[in-house]
């Protein structure tokens, strides 16, 4: 690709934005070179885009296993360090082991899902980004990179699809 330029196309609604995605695909732009930014989550099939990959579930599952291990350590490991005989109960009680293990597993699952959301999205991030506040007011933006020499072709195609504006965009502090 020759010198590239980043453009931001603004759409009133999801419908023309999905048309815009199709136009860009027809012009040969790969899915990796475009991104839809919206004020509400939009299903990838509505936009005609491939599904975004997320690792949040896998990170959460890893957290659940970690939590379970910690829970098992609490209930079965600690009595090794400090054995306590209580009310004729066994040192390593199975029924109450379920309680502690369950709580720690769920804490691990949710805690790591939360962290996973941060890690997978690159949050927190306070560096400049391509964005316009109109997006949180309901507009749908199509952010894409194309060869600078061909930008007129892309702009015309997106205007045909219903874009209100298509203009070069610079990263700015949010």
């Amino acid at each position: 690709m020759s010198e590239a330029i980043t453009l931001l196309a603004m759409f009133e609604d999801i419908e023309p934005a999905s048309e815009g995605v199709e136009k860009l695909q027809q012009l040969g732009l790969s899915d990796d070179d475009m991104n839809v930014i919206s004020g509400i989550p939009v299903k990838h099939t509505i936009l005609g885009r491939p599904a975004a990959i997320t690792y949040v579930s896998r990170i959460g599952l890893f957290g659940a296993l970690m939590g379970m291990t910690l829970g098992i350590f609490f209930i079965y490991g600690i009595p090794h360090l400090y054995p306590l005989l209580v009310g004729g109960q066994p040192i390593f009680p199975v029924p109450m082991g379920f309680i502690i293990t369950f709580e720690m597993t769920m804490l691990g699952l949710m805690g790591f899902s939360f962290i996973g959301m941060f890690v997978d999205s690159g949050f927190p991030s306070y560096t400049p980004k391509e964005y316009t506040p109109e997006i949180s007011d309901g507009k749908v933006a199509l952010l894409f990179t194309c060869p600078a020499s061909e930008q007129e072709k892309f702009i015309d195609a997106l205007k045909d699809a219903g874009a209100e504006t298509v203009a070069p965009v610079e990263a700015r502090h949010l």
Binding site: N35, V36, I37, S38, G39, I40, P41, V42, K43, H44, I46, R49, A51, A52, I53, T54, V56, G60, F74, I75, I78, L81, Y82, L84, V86, G87, Q89, P93, M96, I99, I100, F102, E103, M104, M106, L107, L109, M110, G111, S113, F114, G116, M117, F118, D120, S121, G122, F123, P124, S125, Y126, T127, K129, Y131, P133, I135, S136, D137, G138, L174
Partner: protein
Amino acid sequence: MTTIAKPFARPHPQEHEDPREHLMHDPLPRGQMNAMVMESMHATNWTFWAVTGGLVLIVLFALGYEWYVLIMQGQGTAGVTRPDYWGVFLVNTVFWIGISHAGTFISAILRVMKVESRRPFTRAAELMTTFGLVQAGLSIFMHLGRVWLVYWMFPIPNERRIWPDFHSPLMWVLMAITTYLLCSTMYLFLPLIPDVAMARDRTEGGWLKTFYRVLAIGFRGTEGEWKNLTTAMNIFAFAIIPVMFSVHTIVSWDFAMASRPGWSSTVFGPYFVIGALHSGMAAVAIVLFLLRSTMKHYKYFIRPEHFNTIGMLMLLVSMAWAYFYFNDYLVPWYGGDVWDKLVQEYTEEGPLWYLWYTMLICNIAVPWLLLWNKKWRQSPWLLASAGLLINVGMWLERYIIIPVGVTINRMPFTWRQYYPRIEIPMTVGTFALFLLLYMLASRLIPLIPVWEVQEGQEAHMIRKIGKAEISTLSDME
């Protein structure tokens, strides 16, 4: 035999219901909804600050000065003594944990079941979970006495070389409440991110801009960000439900694991969970009424249909509570154990008999009489009044279980009635702190999840079928 449709003398109210009266069919441009929510956060008057100031004074007195007195002079300042070592502080702990269940119930269960009318008030309910758990934590610290030694309960090595005993239900509660507090706070934060990003976009400079910038963590709304956020929210919505059930079940085991008359019950777990939902749902009705009455533009977002949804849930939960209460009552009554009988007689005919009857009236009679009628359920002040009475009833239920229940034990020479003393102002303090936190939050974060409302409005449409206009819902999630 054929069935003939005969007209009613009066048309049924639902026949005249216009689907456009519902929030999901009455959309406004997103920018306008954002502006309304932002304006509601910033429109404050002197009454707001006067109430805030009053609450600050109450909190300082009740949770500052009185707690200082309690710590310096010891638990004898409170009414707890043999045999009533468990008093109002633990009543408040159980009560506030119950209130905290509303947030998860409203937000997680209704989200999982895709109940659309949940959308505008999930955050108001989620905040109740976090702030309710803060009060529960404070109440249990009051009960601890030497609160600075709380770290002895944590599974960390300490200078006394004592590890916590996980055989104890009190340790289970510590683990459960900690898990619930952390997870419900994270669950509150996740759907808040797009709304604080909206607030960031609409705020010009100053400390508020910095506050929103930090909280929005750089969110823009790209496909990947939404995917990660909604995936995490789905995991939380499913995972926090069993945690919610476990928390109040474990709280009930604090009592049920003791072989005391009146407490040692196998039905205590589900009975406590239902009780928590009963008080929690009722508290949501009160909070929504207050928000709708005091916050600008909230009449657009919180409508009679939402009170109707909550009213139906309150009625359903009150029936479930009555069922479990009867279960818990009948078996000891029939069983003939002398100590169980004595507890029941003391509760019903003892010096505090009026508490028992008030509890039954508030928890059963009030919802059953008021909430069967849709028109009444849609009346915000009536639903809030029912909610207030239910919460009085539920607080009394915990009072009857704890200090009244422990009065009667297997050593009659120790029987002594409990009178709360310093507990009363400190209880008022927890209510004041809850309100104060809520009022401050209402000025700092958008209490209406605008993006969720818009998402719902995008998915709804009105379709004409035959002569009627029918609400339809597209699966856009």
